[in-house]
């Protein structure tokens, strides 16, 4: 479908966007990407988690354990203030980039 490079470059932005709405756990993030892209974007566990961990260690997102009755506890990620700034900047850059590419492609 889409090349790995293309997907990889956009994954951080996608995750940050999803977390901007509310805290989510990793499985939910993966599911959401798949359903919202109508199945066109799928990230394996092996792609998703390293990105989560990297953003966490950079201080863009933070996580905490949440327990619900009848389920195993889950790690919920949420945006930090820094993450919010990065998201705004990344979104702006993405839009500028896609707009520029569109111009070239003549769309």
């Amino acid at each position: 479908m889409f090349s790995a490079e293309l997907k990889k470059g956009s994954l951080e932005l996608i995750v940050l966007t999803l977390l901007d709405e509310r805290p989510r756990h990793g499985y939910e993030i993966g599911q959401l990407i798949e359903t919202r892209s109508r199945g066109q974007l799928q990230f394996r566990v092996t792609s998703l988690y390293p990105v989560l961990y990297r953003m966490e260690s950079r201080g863009w997102i933070a996580s905490r354990w949440v327990e619900r009755a009848g389920e195993h506890r889950r790690n919920y990620y949420s945006l930090t203030a820094k993450g919010r700034r990065i998201l705004a900047e990344e979104q702006r850059r993405w839009r500028a980039f896609t707009a520029a590419v569109d111009l070239v492609l003549g769309g």
């Binding site: 756990h25 990793g26 499985y27 993966g30 394996r44 566990v45 092996t46 988690y49 390293p50 990105v51 989560l52 961990y53 990297r54 260690s57 950079r58 201080g59 996580s63 195993h72 506890r73 889950r74 790690n75």
Partner: protein
């Protein structure tokens, strides 16, 4: 639902990180997989499909772990990699064989990570291997530093010695003319050299000393490929009689007597009173030229006489080098033809004389050495085998625990080869670590051994014992042994595990999988084998300990507590007349007797503790007795002694009298017999009987028996003491006697007085071996003590290893039955009954192992016992004790885990996988 947390923990080779962080990652990923699994189940997949579906998200655990690892480093944007990863990428990019190198590197790194996560296992394996490899490396190191030396002479396979054969057997020496004829007539040899062994006296410059000399033709050392370590070898023209006298010094003599100074080169020293010029220092290898020579002190030119009279004197050793490409068998054929021609040409001296060629390295090893070597080899081999069994068990146990890991990887497409390779990489890594640890252990052990037996160990002066182990051959040996061990004992578990069908291991617990394929017979075999190998070794230990305790209780037949002894050898040029010699020893004994603190002194021609070989023999005839000449019955061992000898030794005169001053040369020949000799020939009444000494010779004389004395306890050698004939030294003078003195009080105080007392009589008479009788006894027994110490150490090692192994294996065998035990208890079986059941199984294994061990022990025990004094090969105490000990260990090893299993809650046991 599978235990995903455990699965992740076992599969994901995370780098070291904070524990909380690691736990978080594992739990989170496990939760993710559980969610995926549940979703797949909800779509209608079965267990196995759902699991495969979930795991399909992580096709490469290693790459995943490495991505996570780089994500932990916030400063690295993009895919962060270490040097190893960069190298990996670079190698893969080049393709071809480099890919294999990259794969190997990856395997190795993965192995390091996996092993690093199990430090206890790593420790256990390395220690086990270190013991097994260490014991072998130590023995190999000592061997190659001693008996192995001749094998490293230049092209040693071309070197042969000549042995003379006749209808009675074989000797190591040959006559010089025969050797010279063979050398000139045979086309097989590049060169033939001759040498002889002699003793010489060093006088002047310090105390007179008796040393071992080799007289050799100039070509001997070049033929062996040896050169002087300093100075030069002697030349062919210096072999000629009447040439300037030159000498080379042995390394140890040079260091001891000349302080290892090269100033000695060119100086003159007195050898047997004759001035000789020192021209060089001998290479240490010459000490291993001949099994009869412990060390060569002097190296002198040899003038070879080739006259007819010399043809019958077979007193030379001959060494030859075969021409390249000539085999010993070819040369042998040629030599036999020449020997036949010589027999025709010289019927007087050469009738029935043949020559046999033997490889030089082989000739240096006596039969005893070879037997000893073989025994040690078997013993250390057994220790290694026990270590290997332990190793196989440990590898198998971990491999079994990882059955699932491998099954999952197989399910995800990893080939069997890939998994075997992975396990082999771990084994090899373990082997290398173990081999290195083994070398360290060997160096430590050899050092300990050399220090303990320092005086007796043939180590070149100044050489470090560590050098015996830290050298290329021993290193290679240890590494090769380690790798062989790893391949042999790592491969079996690897193949076994990789063969387990995926469905079996995924669906059922690991106990089911392992009990089926890996447990069962193979593991039982390990237990039985372990016992069967250990038992003979420990029995050897038992026999050896009995041997040592027997040695401690030796009754030497006289009071050795206060005895001291010294040897004196008169230079024959200065004491030519027999009467002069006898007179000197009378004066020497009198001088010693007069020393303060000496209660009594005497002299004899051999040690009272000597064995047969060191006694002189004399031919006798007794009226009414017919001897079997072929069996040498007409020869009897004798000692010439001074009158006070029996008193000094404390040997009781049972009947008649001791010798007196009146028993002189020219007086009536008299003799005293030991009780055993008296019993043999004169059971009724020895006193007053007589025997003929040296019959049918010009010295024939009839001696009257004047006394019977007790046995000087030679029973230390296990055999009954040989009968001894004592003659008065005045009537049987000798140039060499041992002065024995009894100290009234502290014997250490009298030792320093002995030598000066003799030197006051004549400063140029060599006095040597001034020692207490206990020291002499210890010297006699040194080989046995070395062997005993070594075997005891090995056996202790074997017992320790075997015990650890048995505990490990029994624990595992019982652990596999935990579920069964739970079921039985749950169904109402009494704990005692279940315990009985488990113990009966252990007992069956133990008995099988012990029986096997006993079968193996019988021949080994007998072989060993033939080397030990006062111990029978069937020594019941050793056998029963050791058997009981091993059975006890095996049963304890089974009981402890069984009791633990019984204490487990049945419900837990039932759930146990």
């Amino acid at each position: 639902m599978p235990d995903f947390k455990r699965l992740v923990r076992e599969h994901l080779p995370l780098p070291p990180m904070k524990r909380r962080r690691e736990e978080k990652i594992i739990e989170e990923l496990a939760g993710q997989l559980a969610d995926l699994y549940r979703a797949a189940r909800a779509r209608g997949l079965d267990d196995e499909q759902a699991l495969a579906d979930a795991l399909g998200q992580i096709p490469d655990w290693e790459a995943f772990a490495s991505d996570i690892a780089s994500a932990q480093r916030p400063n690295l944007h993009g895919p962060g990699h270490g040097v190893a990863d960069d190298l990996d990428v670079a190698l893969r990019r080049r393709g071809g064989a480099w890919r294999i190198v990259a794969d190997l590197g990856q395997d190795a790194r993965y192995a390091v990570r996996t092993l690093g996560r199990r430090p206890l296992f790593l420790f256990a394996v390395v220690v086990t291997m270190a013991l097994g490899i260490g014991a072998n490396a130590a023995v190999f190191g000592v061997f190659q530093a001693t008996l192995g030396v001749p094998y490293r002479f230049a092209n040693a396979d071309e070197l042969v010695v000549f042995r003379t054969t006749n209808d009675r057997g074989e000797g190591r020496t040959i006559s010089a003319p025969d050797a010279a004829d063979i050398g000139t007539q045979a086309a097989s040899f590049a060169d033939v050299a001759l040498y002889a062994i002699a003793t010489r006296h060093l006088t002047g410059r310090g105390e007179a000393e008796r040393v071992t000399a080799v007289q050799a033709t100039a070509n001997l050392l070049p033929l062996l490929g040896l050169d002087a370590t300093a100075g030069r070898l002697h030349r062919r023209d210096e072999d000629a009689r009447g040439a300037d006298r030159v000498v080379l010094l042995g390394e140890r003599l040079w260091r001891r007597r000349f302080d290892g100074s090269l100033d000695v080169l060119g100086q003159t020293i007195a050898v047997n009173g004759q001035p000789h010029t020192v021209i060089g220092i001998l290479p240490p290898e010459v000490d291993f030229l001949n099994p009869f020579v412990d060390r060569v002190d002097l190296w002198l030119p040899l003038s070879v006489e080739l006259d007819v009279a010399a043809r019958g004197r077979r007193a030379h050793f001959a060494v030859a080098r075969l021409k390249p490409g000539v085999t010993i068998a070819q040369a042998q054929t040629e030599v036999e033809e020449i020997a036949a021609r010589l027999a025709e040409a010289y019927p007087d001296s050469n009738t029935g004389i043949g020559v046999r060629l033997q490889s030089l390295p082989e000739s240096v090893m006596s039969l005893d050495d070879r037997l000893l070597g073989l025994m040690l080899l078997v013993a250390v081999g057994a220790v290694l085998l026990i270590a290997c069994v332990n190793l196989a068990n440990m590898l198998l146990a971990t491999a079994t625990a990882r059955v699932r890991e491998f099954a999952v990887r197989t399910a995800l497409g990893a080939g069997r080869g890939r998994i075997v390779r992975q396990l082999m990489a771990e084994s090899l890594l373990l082997a290398l670590a173990g081999g290195l640890a083994g070398l360290l252990a060997a160096a430590w052990a050899v050092n300990l051994f050399v220090v303990a037996y320092e005086a007796d160990f043939p180590l070149a002066a100044g050489a470090s014992p560590y050098a015996l182990v830290f050298n290329a051959p021993v290193f290679l040996y240890a590494v090769a042994l380690s790798l062989a061990t790893a391949v042999a004992f790592g491969l079996a578990p690897a193949l076994g595990v990789s063969r387990v069908p995926v469905s079996t291991s995924l669906k059922e617990g690991e106990s089911a999988a392992s009990a089926g394929l890996l447990g069962g017979r193979f593991r039982n075999g390990l237990v039985v084998g372990q016992l069967a190998i250990s038992l003979p070794l420990v029995i050897c230990c038992g026999l050896t300990l009995r041997h040592v305790s027997t040695l401690r209780q030796i009754d030497v037949g006289f009071d050795r507590e206060h005895l001291v002894a010294m040897s004196i050898e008169l230079p024959s040029q200065r004491y030519e007349e027999p009467a002069e010699r006898a007179a000197f020893f009378d004066r020497a004994v009198a001088a010693v007797d007069a020393l303060p603190g000496i209660a009594a002194a005497g002299a004899s021609t051999s040690f009272p503790l000597g064995n047969d070989g060191l006694m002189s023999y004399i031919r006798i005839a007794i009226d009414g007795v017919t001897f079997d000449h072929d069996r040498g019955e007409d020869y009897t061992g004798f000692q010439a002694v001074t009158p006070d000898y029996f008193r000094a030794l404390g040997l009781p005169v049972i009947a008649g009298r001791a010798f007196t001053e009146a028993d002189r040369a020219g007086a009536e020949p008299v003799a005293i017999v030991s009780a055993r000799l008296a019993e043999r020939y004169w059971p009724d009444r020895a006193i007053g009987s007589s025997l003929v000494l040296e019959p049918d010779s010009e010295k024939e004389r009839r001696a009257r028996i004047v006394g019977v004395v007790g046995e000087a306890g030679r029973s230390i050698m296990g055999d009954p003491p040989p009968p001894v004939l004592y003659l008065p030294h005045q009537q049987q003078p000798s140039a060499r006697m041992i002065v024995v003195a009894r100290a009234a009080g502290d014997r250490a105080a009298v030792i320093p007085l002995l030598r000066p007392a003799v030197r006051a009589l004549d400063a140029d008479v060599p006095v040597y071996d001034v020692r207490t009788m206990d020291d002499i006894l210890r010297q006699w027994l040194r080989d046995d003590r070395m062997l005993a110490g070594f075997l005891a150490g090995l056996a202790a090692l074997a017992l320790g290893l075997a015990s650890v192994g048995l505990f490990g294996m029994m624990a595992f065998v019982v652990a596999l039955r935990t579920r069964e035990i739970g079921i039985r208890i749950a169904l109402g079986a009494a704990k005692a009954d279940v315990l009985g059941l488990v113990m009966r199984r252990c007992l069956r294994l133990a008995v099988a192992g012990v029986l096997g061990g006993l079968l193996l022990s019988a021949p080994i025990g007998y072989a060993l016992a033939s080397q030990l004094y006062g111990v029978s090969g069937a020594d019941p105490l050793s056998y029963l004790g050791v058997t009981a000990l091993l059975l006890a260990i095996a049963l304890t090893a089974g009981y402890l885990p069984a009791r633990r299993a019984l204490r487990v809650d049945p419900m837990v046991a039932l759930r146990h996988e």
